[in-house]
């Protein structure tokens, strides 16, 4: 069976270049590295505007199309606005995180990044930060259009709404970065990404929908709904920690 072990990569391979030992400064160094990656991606996006423009236009188109499905001016339909908005962000987000790692494929940029002294977790975190920034931008633009089209005065609850949006968007960004990295070298990348991402996102989308829907109906959070806030926080913390822990597994070939 030795030939099988050798061909399937189980046999011993040369050790990779040793990374610096973990010290108290490591998390800070990783954050700085992540910021470099995010800054690079945001600078590219600022010049090309390929992801934000596409996602923004797509989000507004879906908002327009939903208005054919039901009458947005009827008061009882306000209960669905939270869900509607998060579906829009989830679909538009796919356009952003699909580009996250795919952007690095031409000219073997991903291999160059992986060969650099950057740690895989800071690379993944940096991608999550840039996806987060782009998503927030698209969400803000969509929210402005949503307020006008659907006659929702969301700014009355701008504080809690911002909290919900930031928590949920970070979750989407982390999951988007993880699965963008996981599928980047696959033949069926565009096909596999939504199949993998959306089921994992569903608990987060339910929580965000419940909380946003309540705010759009001008109601305060009940004690039951604080459970959704906790779920958002736990989701963000657990997935960020898992993403950092599994970054090397996901990224390195």
């Amino acid at each position: 069976m030795q030939h099988e072990r050798l061909l399937l990569g189980e046999a011993k391979t040369p050790e990779r270049l040793a990374r610096p030992a973990f010290t108290l400064a490591t998390p800070l160094r990783e954050l700085v590295q992540a910021w470099w990656i995010a800054r690079k991606d945001l600078a590219i996006e600022l010049r090309t505007k390929e992801s934000v423009n596409a996602a923004g236009a797509f989000a507004i188109t879906i908002l327009l199309m939903f208005s054919f499905a039901f009458d947005p001016t009827e008061a009882e339909n306000r209960a669905y606005f939270g869900g509607l908005l998060w579906l829009v962000f989830a679909f538009a987000g796919a356009l952003i995180f699909n580009r996250g790692f795919a952007r690095e494929l031409p000219n073997e940029c991903l291999d160059a990044l992986l060969a650099s002294p950057l740690s895989p977790s800071s690379l993944l975190l940096g991608k999550a930060i840039s996806i987060f920034a782009m998503l927030v931008l698209v969400e803000f633009a969509s929210l402005l259009v949503f307020g006008v089209f659907y006659d929702v005065r969301w700014w009355r609850h701008a504080g809690p709404l911002a909290g919900v949006f930031l928590l949920a968007t970070w979750g989407i960004a982390v999951i988007g970065a993880v699965f963008g990295a996981l599928t980047v070298n696959l033949r069926l990348r565009e096909l596999m990404l939504p199949i993998l991402v959306y089921p994992v996102l569903i608990p987060l989308l339910i929580a965000a929908t419940e909380l946003s829907g309540t705010l759009f109906q001008n109601q305060p959070f009940s004690s039951d709904q604080l459970l959704w806030v906790r779920l958002l926080i736990v989701f963000d913390v657990v997935f960020t920690a898992l993403a950092a822990a599994l970054a090397e597994t996901i990224l390195l070939n």
């Binding site: 030939h3 099988e4 061909l7 399937l8 990569g9 189980e10 993880v178 996981l182 070298n185 696959l186 033949r187 069926l188 596999m192 199949i195 993998l196 959306y198 089921p199 994992v200 569903i202 608990p203 339910i206 039951d224 459970l227 657990v238 997935f239 898992l242 599994l246 597994t249 996901i250 070939n253």
Partner: protein, 228 residues
């Protein structure tokens, strides 16, 4: 040897299932509130338990693969997830039949039901991901990572009846409630059927693992032939 164990386990499972069916349909009376449909619980909940146990075992095997790089752990995890997915589907279908009789609808968007459906979608995606990757180590690495992420939803399925207000009934087994929710005679049959389904699951995993090992051997020989 493995074949003999699989056959022995399958035989034991068949015998136990036959005995359980006899007890369910010919010995136990109908449940006072729900009538004869209550018997579906003997398959519905044990199927969910076997499925969830399978996902957690697959989680451990995925972590073992990532720490050791031994493909047999990955092959075992994939086999277990395939079998667990079948049990999760049995759980959803039997639950749907029960819901049609008791609630009057096939499906309701209850958190327990939704999270179980999400769980099925995640692990179906796991199997699709495996089919989409030809290179065995890359397939093992990425699917192990996905299994770890997917198991977070398994925790949500498990705890959803405690965390959220649900239409789905809460815990009824005496090990979780301290007793008083289910007749001891019913509970005994429930545990025997859980054991029977567990034996069915283990024998299916043994058969599937053997197929997976054969597929790996063929794959490695094919690669060797191409390399020469």
């Amino acid at each position: 040897m493995r074949d003999r164990i699989a056959i022995a386990l399958a035989g034991a499972a068949a015998g136990l299932l036959a005995w359980n069916l006899y007890k369910m349909f010919l010995v136990l009376p109908d449940e006072a509130m729900q009538g004869p449909i209550f018997r579906i619980l003997f398959f519905h909940a044990p199927a969910a338990m076997v499925g969830m146990t399978g996902y957690f075992v697959a989680l451990v095997l995925s972590i073992l693969y990532l720490s050791s790089n031994q493909l047999r752990f990955d092959a075992l995890a994939a086999s277990i997830i395939e079998v667990s997915l079948v049990f999760s589907l049995i759980n959803i279908v039997t639950g749907s039949i029960w819901a049609r009789i008791i609630w009057g609808v096939w499906w309701t968007w209850d958190y327990r039901l939704t999270s179980q459906l999400v769980c099925i979608l995640i692990f179906a995606a796991y199997l699709m991901l495996r089919r989409g990757i030809d290179e065995p180590t890359q397939r093992a690495r990425l699917s192990s990572a996905l299994c770890i992420f997917g198991c977070i939803d398994v925790v949500i399925v498990w705890k959803s009846i405690e965390w959220f207000r649900n239409l789905h009934p809460g815990p009824v087994l005496s090990i979780r409630t301290g007793g008083g929710h289910m007749d001891p005679a019913y509970e005994r049959v429930f545990y025997w059927n859980l054991l029977a389904l567990l034996l069915v699951g283990i024998s299916l995993v043994l058969i599937r693992t053997r197929q997976e090992a054969t597929a790996r051997e063929i794959d490695s020989l094919r690669r060797l032939a191409h390399a020469q």
